[in-house]
């Protein structure tokens, strides 16, 4: 674990009063490796290490902590600062339209059902719109999930017109007196111009209250580019971080935050419609540090 690696690095320092730059450099090297192995983007690591170094140099080694613990505390605090507090979904408009976007296979369709189930439990009537008209049986998938959780859904296979389907779906949700309308979209690459333009148009015509990026916890360095691509082109109001039940360290989250500043709203912790949790910053920090 990182703490034991740092203990080794700092074995000689337990008697000194202040952490000197050379001492800190050793510890930072271990932290850099830990963060890179946790899939944090190397530029984010560089920036993060610099901030930790600024805070660590010259600090008194507290009587009750070993230098390793002190550096870890600084790293933890800095990471908590970056990850920010969990943010709720804004449901101040009626109805609240939530648009789910992200790469292929990230977990959007599953997240749509999870969100719907959560809102239903909270007494906010949800409604689903199956706007992935491209993937084989995508509409069937969301329809099945809607049946499982007993939530209304607009699902059609009669058209390939995505914008039209989104608009009709929202209309159906309104007629259904839904409070929260969740729109599932087809997975797409942020470098796919025509599919990103499709999202820009949907956002323009429909003005969703929340556009949530659904991102996979197993993602590597490229998460930075994906987040930046989606945020720059369509604007992201929050992130749902999925597949956290894997043993991926999830460093992509740190990158997502530092690059887009978007709040983390939820984490996906499994395949079932119950497997949605609030984002817990402390747990995530422990996981990323390893």
């Amino acid at each position: 674990a990182l703490s034991s690696k740092l203990d080794v690095a700092f074995k000689k320092l337990s008697r000194r009063g202040v952490l000197r730059p050379a001492d800190v450099k050793n510890g930072l090297r271990e932290i850099r490796i830990a963060l890179l192995e946790a899939d944090v983007h190397y530029k984010v690591v560089k920036d993060f290490i610099r901030r930790v170094e600024e805070k660590a140099v010259g600090e008194d080694v507290l009587k009750s902590l070993t230098p390793a613990q002190q550096i870890i505390k600084i790293v933890r605090d800095e990471m908590l600062d970056v990850l920010g507090a969990p943010a709720p979904v804004n449901s101040d408009t009626s109805p609240t339209v939530i648009l789910l976007v992200g790469l292929q296979g990230a977990g959007k369709t599953t997240a749509a059902a999870k969100l719907a189930k959560k809102f239903k439990k909270e007494g906010l009537k949800p409604f689903l719109v199956a706007a992935d008209l491209q993937r084989p049986a995508a509409v069937d998938q969301l329809e099945q999930l809607a049946r499982d959780i007993d939530v209304g859904i607009y699902a059609t296979k009669e058209t390939k017109n995505v914008l039209n389907t989104v608009q009709k779906g929202i209309e159906a949700g309104r007629k259904n007196f839904a409070k929260i309308i969740i729109v599932d979209t087809a997975g797409r690459l942020q470098i796919d111009r025509s599919l990103m333009e499709e999202l820009v148009l949907i956002k323009k015509k429909v003005s969703p209250r929340e556009t949530l990026l659904v991102a996979d916890a197993m993602a590597g360095q490229d998460a930075v580019n994906v987040a930046a691509g989606f945020h720059d082109q369509i604007g992201i109001d929050g992130v749902i971080f999925t597949k956290v039940d894997s043993d991926a360290r999830g460093g992509a989250l740190l990158s997502l935050r530092m690059v887009t500043g978007t709040p983390i709203k939820f984490v996906g912790v499994g395949e079932k419609s119950d497997d949605l949790e609030a984002f817990q910053p402390e747990r995530m920090v422990s996981r990323i540090l390893g």
């Binding site: 296979g105 049986a137 995508a138 069937d140 998938q141 969301l142 099945q144 894997s246 043993d247």
Partner: protein, 273 residues
Amino acid sequence: IKGPGLPDETFFQEVEELLLEADLGFRTVAQVIETARQKLRSGQTPEEAFHHALLGLLSPSGRYLNLKGEDRPVLLFVGVNGVGKTTTVAKVALRLKEEGMRPLIAAGDTFRAAGSAQMQVWGTKIGVDVVAKPPGHDPAALVYEAIDSADQNGYNALLIDTAGRMHTKKGLMDEIGKIKRIIEKKSGTKPAETLLVVDATTGQNALRQAEIFHDALELTGLILTKVDGSSKGGIVFSLESLYNVPVKLIGMGEGVHHLEMFDPRKFVEALFS
């Protein structure tokens, strides 16, 4: 790395960052840099040094699908959730059909909503028969029946799609182990291919996936999907050097023809472009 002149420390730092950003991983990058330095000292150009250092990490095993060994090869597709297994099964099945084989698909995902339906829609699109059962049906029993069907109806290849599963879930790993044993018992031989499908956007966790799936199933190959995205898929270098399991195919798009054989040289070239 194609430039003239002798590389300095800034050059090495830039290459290190390029390789880190490609998901090679800290340890593998250190290994590559060290090997390249040695090759540079022995007189190679920077381009040669790095190309050889990277190619040297890849598995020497063959990269063709093993279809020749038996009259009805079984190809088992496994992997974690959402990586592209179902889509890849369709791509490979069509490729085999286009090469004159008579493939049969087993829609082995009887767990996820529309898991089986998705495979069936693909089967219809590509004109390949699919053995399917209602949701909740035991996947091992389905595989058993699919092998029977293949033998009784003259299909000469069986492709098995399976449900996505986290390598961290013991019950699910036990299930896939059981499916493989069923194939072995029924066919009298191991599957011709046991392929781990890996998403190119995956970071270091791909190593954990390979470790656990290889331990449970003895993988014969990897398939790297979503190479058409912005991710470089550099995790392949660590995967191959640590587990000696070769990437056989790459998926480069959602269309059914977006499948290619893995070309190590092209892959290394693409890293630096």
